[in-house]
């Protein structure tokens, strides 16, 4: 059994940090909504653009052709905006992990380059059998 807890400074700090935290409305569903909206706009825009072409060709009336042109331009705009929204919200999660990994790798590279003594020591120290030097990933066995 664990004994009764001591006054926990970490716990106090945790509570204080949480109290100061600005908590927005739950936005997990909002991201999905924007992504879906982007996909929908992109698809609708492409359909409108494609639809405008036969509409413009099906008539000799310049007024009707003007309407079809406006429809087509609207469709292209919707497709571009929708595509941008879709990319923004679908790639965010992926890029977040990629950025974290990049920053970790750069950090390690910086550590090696800035401290040659450590690097030399690591290189010269005998690695245990079957283990890589410099923390590098070993070749597959």
């Amino acid at each position: 059994m664990t004994s009764t807890p001591l006054p926990a400074s970490r716990a106090d700090r945790f509570v204080r940090e949480l109290a100061e935290l600005k908590i927005p409305d739950p936005a997990a569903a909002r991201t999905a909504l924007w992504r879906r909206l982007g996909g929908l706009l992109m698809t609708a825009g492409l359909v409108l653009g494609a639809l405008a072409f036969p509409l413009a060709h099906a008539t000799d009336s310049s007024l009707a052709q003007g309407d079809a042109l406006a429809l087509g331009l609207g469709g292209v705009t919707a497709a571009v905006v929708g595509g941008a929204l879709f990319l923004r919200y679908s790639l965010t999660d992926f890029l977040r992990f990629w950025l974290a990994r990049q920053s970790y790798d750069l950090d390690r590279l910086g550590e090696r380059l800035s401290d040659p003594a450590v690097a030399a020591k690591t290189v010269n120290s005998p690695a245990p059998e079957g283990e890589p030097r410099n923390g590098a990933a070993p070749s597959p066995r």
């Binding site: 059994m1 716990a11 945790f14 509570v15 245990p128 923390g135």
Partner: protein, 239 residues
């Protein structure tokens, strides 16, 4: 207790669902600073979902998640992690192709320096120091679990969530790990342990709850009568 005497972690009427299928039907659970709470129950009871809800990974469909008295329902898990909530998932959650040292250094996101992280981890788990260049995937099960614990501890957690710590480990190793968990709790960390291997965790738990089909069926101070009753919860009939 804490500055405002609120439990560090509190689930209040938490309901959760996967694709419209409700798996938690109003779970109430509190964990105070320095307390070890064991959440027991058979397979598929929803224990892991409780942990996910507590870590912010699975937003509840109803109910509240409170931390230090503050309602943090729906907050992003990253923000909870930065504040001090640490989940050690089932299956250890280490990077098998990275060395022990690299696994630890991945935790620099918490703002602590490399040396500090290594020192903290190796002080508590000397066996990891001897294996710092070894790939995590080549460690024994117990050592991998130690590495997972070390990765959590170096973030200086205030709330520690452990999922099936004993999975695939020998009883002696499990006992050793739970002694470490008790030691961590004594430092003021609120610990919620999800476990099927009840005997080991009940030795260190201050409070236990039994979850069956998404509902807390029993909770209170763990004593010998609970051990006997557990079989009826797990198997449907007492031994």
């Amino acid at each position: 207790m804490t500055v405002n005497d609120s439990p560090l972690l509190e689930l209040r009427g938490v309901r959760a669902a996967y694709h419209g299928i409700t798996v938690l039907h109003g779970v109430d659970l509190t964990v105070a600073a320095g307390q070890v709470v064991a959440l027991l129950g058979p397979n598929g009871a929803g224990k892991t979902t409780v942990l996910k809800a507590a870590a912010g990974l699975h937003p509840p469909s109803a109910g509240q998640l409170l931390m230090g008295g503050r309602d943090v329902t729906g907050i992003r898990p990253g923000r909870l992690a930065r504040a001090g909530v640490c989940l050690i998932p089932e299956g250890r959650g280490v990077f098998p192709n990275l060395s022990v040292r690299d696994n630890l250094l991945m935790m620099t996101f918490c703002g602590r320096g490399r040396e500090e992280i290594e020192e903290t981890a190796y002080d508590r788990f000397p066996v990891l120091a001897a294996r710092r260049t070894q790939q995590a995937g080549t460690l024994s099960g117990g050592e991998q679990q130690m590495l997972a614990l070390a990765r959590g501890l170096v973030t200086d957690p205030a709330v520690l969530l452990l999922d099936e710590l004993s999975m695939g480990l020998a009883p002696l190793v499990v006992a050793e790990l739970y002694e470490l968990v008790a030691e961590i709790a004594r430092q003021g960390v609120a610990v919620l342990v999800v476990e099927q291997f009840a005997a080991a965790v009940l030795k260190i738990a201050d409070h236990a709850a039994v979850l069956v089909r998404g509902r807390i069926q029993w909770q209170g101070h763990p004593d010998s009568s609970l051990q006997a009753e557990l079989s009826s919860y797990y198997l449907g009939s007492p031994t």
